[in-house]
């Protein structure tokens, strides 16, 4: 058996396992989301198809496949066709580097985090191709907003992972997760979220993740009320489904990374529970985060585009830098209680001053409207 056959075999195995798991989660989440939203809005949600509406995703899938795939007449055929493929591909690629359990990382690349962000950044290009390909003003506008939003949040996203990478000293996710092993007095896990800078970084990471995946509070690109479905308006049928799939996979990837970086990956919360297999902990934490996604979608209203931009550049970025500083302070104060208190102090102080500075009431000049000539 030539060695390349073995490598090819292992790669295929990995891919199929990955797809299998995440497709099922996708299906599950899409229906669960609608049920939870409904529950929040004091209604049932889909319960017609199958017990408690569990087969709803199958129905949606079939619907999507049957629907006629309409392509605008003078649209740029090639670009229009390639856009969904590229989006889905990048989303799936990012999932490949996250460690789901003890030595259960599909592709253990040395610069795993870097690979994640490198591939993550190509989604903008795909979104643009979608917007450009459909040759429709709304889709173009939606693509532009999406890209603007994603580009400006990419920076906080990367900067918040920086403290973790600095503290651990390696870019590979496995090293990060193993660094979060161990417990204080058996009950307090060494997760980074327990440290003040870790918690701040986790919150910032999570918010940026929301924006990256165009989720509710920041779903301006496909804000239904304004520009129909943003860059996805001209897609129908299976292509729309792939966009839909890509969005969810993006969500899985971001929260998976959040888990590995801050919530200790596949470590058990308390030492005693170590016997439970590692991937269970990973998927529990993942589902917790996904619940928060849905929860947030249900509660928060849509924000304006300029608020998103200001929030990114004037709050997120500085706070990201403070997390790095806090991490540094924490590290040099010996990573113990003293370090903990010091970094807390740093974050608290800067947070206070920053928020006071950004008093929105008097800070911004009255909005000027510019009507199209």
């Amino acid at each position: 058996m030539p060695d390349w056959v073995t490598t090819m075999a292992s790669i295929l195995l990995n891919i199929s396992a990955l797809l299998g798991v995440f497709l099922t989660i996708f299906a599950l989440i899409s229906v669960l989301e609608r049920k939870i939203l409904g529950r929040m809005q004091n209604r049932y949600g889909p319960n017609r198809v199958g017990p408690f509406g569990l087969f709803q995703p199958v129905a949606d899938g079939i619907k999507m496949l049957i629907k006629e795939d309409v392509v605008p007449a003078r649209a740029d055929k090639v670009v229009h066709f390639l856009a969904p493929i590229l989006v889905a591909a990048t989303a799936i690629l990012t999932l490949g580097v996250i460690p789901y359990g003890r030595n259960m990382t599909p592709f253990a690349i040395d610069g795993g985090i870097l690979f994640f962000f490198a591939v993550g950044s190509t989604t903008e290009l795909a979104v643009f191709m979608a917007g450009w390909g459909s040759n429709n003003k709304f889709s173009m506008l939606g693509a532009m907003r999406a890209i603007a939003q994603m580009v400006s949040y990419e920076l906080p996203l990367i900067l918040t992972t920086l403290p973790v990478v600095m503290v651990v000293g390696a870019l590979s996710p496995d090293a990060i997760v193993s660094a979060q092993g161990g417990y204080w007095f058996g009950i307090l896990p060494h997760w980074f979220v327990t440290t003040p800078w870790g918690a701040a970084a986790f919150i910032l990471f999570f918010v940026s993740g929301l924006v990256e995946s165009n989720r509710t509070p920041f779903d301006v690109p496909e804000g239904e009320s304004e520009i129909v479905a943003g860059h996805m308006t001209e897609y129908s049928g299976f292509k729309y489904a792939t966009f839909f799939l890509a969005e969810y996979f993006g969500m899985f990837a971001i929260s998976g990374l959040a888990v590995t970086l801050f919530l200790g990956g596949w470590h058990a919360p308390i030492a005693v529970l170590e016997f439970i297999p590692s991937y269970v902990w990973f998927f529990l934490k993942l589902s917790a985060l996904l619940f928060v996604y849905i929860w947030v979608r249900g509660t928060l209203p849509r924000t304006r585009v300029d608020q998103i931009m200001n929030f990114a550049w004037k709050f997120m970025l500085p706070m990201a830098f403070t997390c790095i500083i806090a991490a540094a302070v924490w590290h040099y104060q010996g990573r113990g209680l003293a370090g903990w208190l010091w970094s807390l102090a740093v974050i608290a102080i800067i947070y206070q001053t920053l928020s006071r500075l950004l008093e929105t009431k008097k800070k911004f000049a009255p909005r000027t409207y510019r009507f199209a000539e």
Partner: protein, 162 residues
């Protein structure tokens, strides 16, 4: 060295490059450029410079490609009359390619196989960056900021003009 991969990547990159150079529609050329970047990144992976490949993807595809595409978007109005091809340039390019090819083929010392080493880890790169390449790093940082500010000013002028 996995020559199959080498060949595959070579085909992809060169075809992408040719497409980028010759495709009539601008957007397609830009996108084929993305393919070229991916091919080059693949080469870097192939050559064991993993970190560089990632950086390549990150920078070129993540930023430059988007920039190019955006510029195409902003300068779309008169796409009609820029068809023609300037044959002089083609001849010169071919001549240069011929010259280079002739040089490479004639130098005997080049045909040496690739020595076996394990790929370069990010830690080694980080160390060298922070030790004997600190000064270039700072300069690059400075150049980047200045370039971006400059680009911003160039472009911003439109807002004031109205």
């Amino acid at each position: 060295m996995n020559s199959v991969a080498f060949l595959a990547i070579a085909i992809i990159t060169l075809s992408g490059a040719l497409a980028a150079a010759t495709l009539p529609k601008l957007i397609h050329a830009a996108l084929s450029l993305v393919i070229v970047f991916v091919g080059v990144a693949a080469y870097f992976f192939l050559l064991g410079a993993e970190f560089v490949g990632l950086v390549q993807i990150f920078v070129y595809i993540g930023a430059v490609a988007v920039l190019i595409v955006f510029t195409i978007l902003l300068t779309r109005r008169d796409s009609v009359n820029d068809r023609g091809v300037n044959w002089g340039g083609v001849i010169v390019a071919l001549a240069v390619f011929g010259g280079l090819l002739w040089i490479i083929l004639n130098t005997t010392s080049l045909a040496l196989p690739a020595p076996q080493t394990e790929p370069l880890t990010v830690k080694q790169i980080g160390e060298s960056l922070m030790t004997n390449y600190v000064w270039p790093l700072q300069c690059v940082g400075l150049v980047l900021t200045v370039a971006l500010i400059g680009a911003l000013i160039l472009v911003m002028e439109e807002k004031r003009e109205r």
